[in-house]
Symmetry: C2
Subunit: 604 residues, 2 copies
């Protein structure tokens, strides 16, 4: 018997919605606010909206599904959301690649299971007020009270003590102290909650999370662009700016901290929390972002042999860098591995659960620099490769960041090109995953040779001034004044990027004495890593052709790692252990580098 | 046999000069750059230039000396510098009261004997440079070197580590580290000396000293006005400003630190030292100056029951308050005793050598607030009295600070008035010691009654609009357009000030159950305390009439104490011991206060 109204539970995003029986899963997801990729507009011809039912009754398989889904997918029960209609309460599991980019990025909002063990814990005290007969200083009076309960060892910094007189008088001589070991980092009114700030300082993007240190719950999160972009698009140009201007480094630090303070304000407002309740922070970033944030010099990062000033984990007062949190809040940053493998990579490895990994595992975070780690038989090798900003849409003629209107998914079948834009908006450009799909599609269609030259006949292929271009969306289609197209230079940029990444992978494998097929788990982290299409990445040769179930796209694992390090201090020892054990591989030192790279430049 | 050329050694200022035989000691001192008081212009009629020969041959006593020196002075060998001529190499001891004010203040330049044991010591290391085969971070590389010499425990703050990359590369990978316990506070080129900064933050004046931490020697010293004066003359008006303006406290702190940074620049320039070599600082000041400097709130200092926010000794990074010294330099401040007995009083007691005093000793530092300590039979009582700014020349009609042209010494004999101005400049006003002498002289001459009313007949006493005024220097005498005179209101200001001080002394004595005559040692500290005339202070009843040898004028003992605390860390434990043992006496709580005060208001 079919129900009139069915409950649809969408995993792992954790949304539920009631819909009339017969509604397609695609429509149900849309009603629940979960946007699935539907290149074909729900006609069952693109296969992009695949998902896996976990329980409940659905309409039978359609012919479209039988044709679009692979035998593997069919045998494991995959369906197309646009085809399957709900006939009862159902629970479905949506793989990340079926979500649109912004939806996929929401994955980072998922709670990470952790052993809650924060650096800062609360202690409530009541202090007698002064009188003409008791003229002890406020701090002495509090210390004496603490000594009475066996806490004479507690330290107060001047900044923390400075808040004591007003707090005592405003809260009736009752306090909640935030203790970090034997250091008092904040003096709060009684009962006030303790929160922590986790920040991922990307070269391009900032992500910040407010975490309740008494529950481990993420109370609010926010993203923003790194305002340092105004002073240089990538790490090298930031270093050049810092070195070339007398106040360059201070300017970059000030702009960053200004933006972080604004983000903290928004986070606190959203969670209904005061800044003085933010008693601890964890920040991660690549080595250059780490140094620019902490005020360490970057000159030696820009000169051979490119060494970090400081690699070990650091702790410093938030006030020291101008971060406006609780008076005595400390910022912890995990260790950097090398000049171009930073604290964010360590956080990513922890966030992806690789702290004590035993399987042969490759993990990478694709960005302007791509950091790669290979774990094999107790060894941990890491390297960095200069993959450039092409996957962030830069250096691509019609490229753009992953924002509404960006073509994020492309499918070529015969003369037909299907595109999906972020937010379903009219197309305005191509983001990283879109150009990746395009190149992969052109390769699959035999329209690209190994060197990246466009060839063959296609209604969308045009030659203009001797340059071949493939039109994804014509001016007529988008209703704008210009075509959105991909040319040889764009394809070459992708070649350079994918070759850099594949070279790093191959050199690590060679150093470990294994081949790609030995990789048991292949972890792809970061925003682009999350919304790229694995098939496309394999097709262009960026990733080795492993069985697909060995791949795992883990979203912003660096941000997740930062939250882990914030809520669970034993993870900080794990970070140290990771950084201590790692063998850093300098690709420039590798005798075989050029051979591997030249080979990787070609398309398979 | 007389020598043609004689060497004159002047103690304790430590100057020496060669003069022809027959030169007067007054002229010899002048040639040596030591200015003695000579009210009579060297005619042997004022007795102000008395000093005590220690060894060597002088001309015989003159009749002038027999008439001006007391029998006690004569029996202990005192001479008048203007009368005694050198007949061979001589060594003379100059009592502070015979020096002019600026000369007397130079006493603070005297070296204090101390056990050299600074908080910061040097360590030289050489570090291997990085290469493609050795990509360790700079700090890791240094740490590994230190571990090799058994110093793996050393800590580096971020600020200190930030200077490492440039320093390593500029100084050929050789360094001199400044160690404070296991904390590295500065990274210097090899062989560079370590210096410390001692600062006395007075409500009115600042004094700063640069001390060589490897010799204990004071390398340079400088004085300046406290720029906070622009925001209020005394402590109460500063607190009012801090509380009444949103950025009030920050403004006061910023102005002060700005001036201190300027002074440090001058000190460093004078000593040929870089700021980064100033690796430790000690600052002292009253509780309000302490709180405004450190960024502690002062609101509760201005509201009954007037308690300090923090009384214990504090240590904090110089950078935290904006003080521009070595990257990791720490500022130490000794404990405050109470809301109105601050860290400067603790430093004064140490500077006067009272850390472990066993004699019954009274020590006071006269200022707008006068802090008084009484040591008796193992007890240490302390209080603060609001003596006001009259002794700094404020609230006195023709008053001025002790600057060139200020009348600093006055002597009435019959109808004649002798005055001495600072620097021998034409008189422009009266400073604290001058008005004190004037009041004492009028009392001695019987021209003042107990209530402070001017009476009697004197060519310099004039009645104008019903007000009696005593003319010290007439317009004709000074060649200016106005008389410099003292009136009843001025005399009343001095009455209020001396009564406050005497009341504090008497209440401490009563609390200890002793009387003034039990005081074995009476220590007078501070600038005014150093250049006041003890006879005058006793005559007006500000000080008890003790045998004069029990008095000791110790100059800026707070500054001396700050230098002690800088060069000899065991003194910091002595400061804690002093502050722990002290019994603070709140005069406002004393039942007998008003009776004692009313009695003290009258002149003896």
């Amino acid at each position: 018997v079919s129900k009139a109204t069915c409950i649809v539970i969408l995993q792992p995003v954790g949304r539920r919605v009631e819909v009339p029986a017969g509604t397609s899963l695609l429509d149900a997801a849309r009603l629940a606010g979960v946007e699935l990729v539907a290149l074909c507009g729900g006609e069952g011809t693109c296969g992009a909206c695949r998902l896996r039912p976990v329980e409940g009754r659905l309409s039978p398989l359609t012919r479209a599904e039988e044709s679009e889904l692979t035998p593997g997918d069919l045998s494991t029960g995959y369906r197309l959301a646009c085809q399957a209609q709900v006939l009862g309460d159902v629970r479905v599991d949506i793989p990340p690649e079926s979500l649109t980019a912004p939806q996929r990025l929401q994955l980072e909002g998922l709670e990470i299971p952790l052993e809650l063990d924060p650096a800062v814990i609360p202690l409530e005290v009541e202090v007698p007020p002064p009188s003409l007969a008791d003229l002890r200083a406020d701090l002495t009076r509090l210390r004496d009270t603490l000594a009475g309960i066996g806490r004479a060892e507690l330290h107060f910094s001047l900044e923390t003590a400075a808040s004591l007189p007003a707090r005592l008088r405003a809260s009736g001589w009752r306090l909640r102290l935030a203790l970090r070991g034997d250091q008092v980092v904040a003096i709060l009114p009684p009962g006030r909650g303790l929160f922590g700030l986790a920040v991922d300082i990307g070269t391009t993007k900032l992500a910040a999370y407010l975490v309740d240190l008494e529950t481990g719950r993420t109370a609010a999160k926010i993203g923003a662009m790194n305002p340092q972009i105004a002073y240089g698009e990538d790490v090298i140009s930031r270093i050049t700016f810092a070195n070339g201007h007398s106040d360059g480094a201070q300017t970059l630090q000030a702009r960053l901290v200004e933006e972080l303070n604004r983000m903290v304000g928004d986070l606190c407002a959203e969670a209904g929390v005061g800044r003085e309740q933010v008693v601890e922070a964890v920040a991660v970033g690549n080595t250059a972002m780490h140094h620019l944030f902490t005020g360490l010099p970057v000159r030696q990062l820009g000169e051979s042999p490119y060494v970090a000033a400081v690699a070990e984990a650091v702790e410093f007062p938030a006030r020291q860098v101008g971060l406006d949190l609780a008076a005595g809040a400390i910022v912890y940053m995990p260790p950097n591995i090398a000049g171009y493998v930073g604290a964010d990579h360590v956080a990513m490895l922890l966030g992806a659960g690789l702290g004590g990994v035993s399987q042969t595992t490759l993990a990478l975070d694709i960005g302007t620099n791509t950091e790669i780690s290979l774990f094999h038989q107790g060894r941990h090798l890491a390297c960095s490769c200069a993959s450039g900003p092409a996957f962030e849409g830069a250096h691509i003629k019609d490229g753009m960041r992953a924002a509404p209107g960006a073509i994020e998914r492309v499918r070529l079948s015969g003369d037909v090109v299907q595109v999906h834009t972020i937010g379903g908006q009219p197309a305005v450009g191509i983001c990283g995953s879109g150009i990746l799909d395009t190149v992969a599609g052109l390769l699959k269609a035999g329209m690209l040779d190994g060197r990246g030259v466009l060839r063959g006949m296609h209604p969308r292929l045009q030659i203009k001034a001797g340059q071949a271009e493939f039109i994804l969306v014509s001016a007529a289609e988008s209703g704008t004044h210009r075509d959105i197209k991909v040319g040889r230079k764009d394809i070459n940029e992708i070649q350079l990027a994918k070759a850099a990444i594949r070279t790093g992978i191959e050199i690590l494998l060679a150093d470990a004495g294994i081949s790609a097929s030995d990789i048991q788990s292949f972890i792809v982290a970061g925003a682009f890593g999350t919304y790229l299409d694995l098939e496309s990445a394999v097709r262009i040769g960026m990733f080795p052709d492993l069985p697909r179930e060995r791949f795992r796209q883990v979203g912003n694992a660096a941000g997740g790692g930062a939250r882990l390090l914030l809520a669970s201090t034993p993870q900080r020892a794990a970070a140290d252990a990771l950084a201590r054990r790692v063998e850093y591989v300098e690709l420039a030192n590798d005798a075989g580098f050029m051979d591997v790279y030249v080979k990787a430049l070609a398309f398979p």
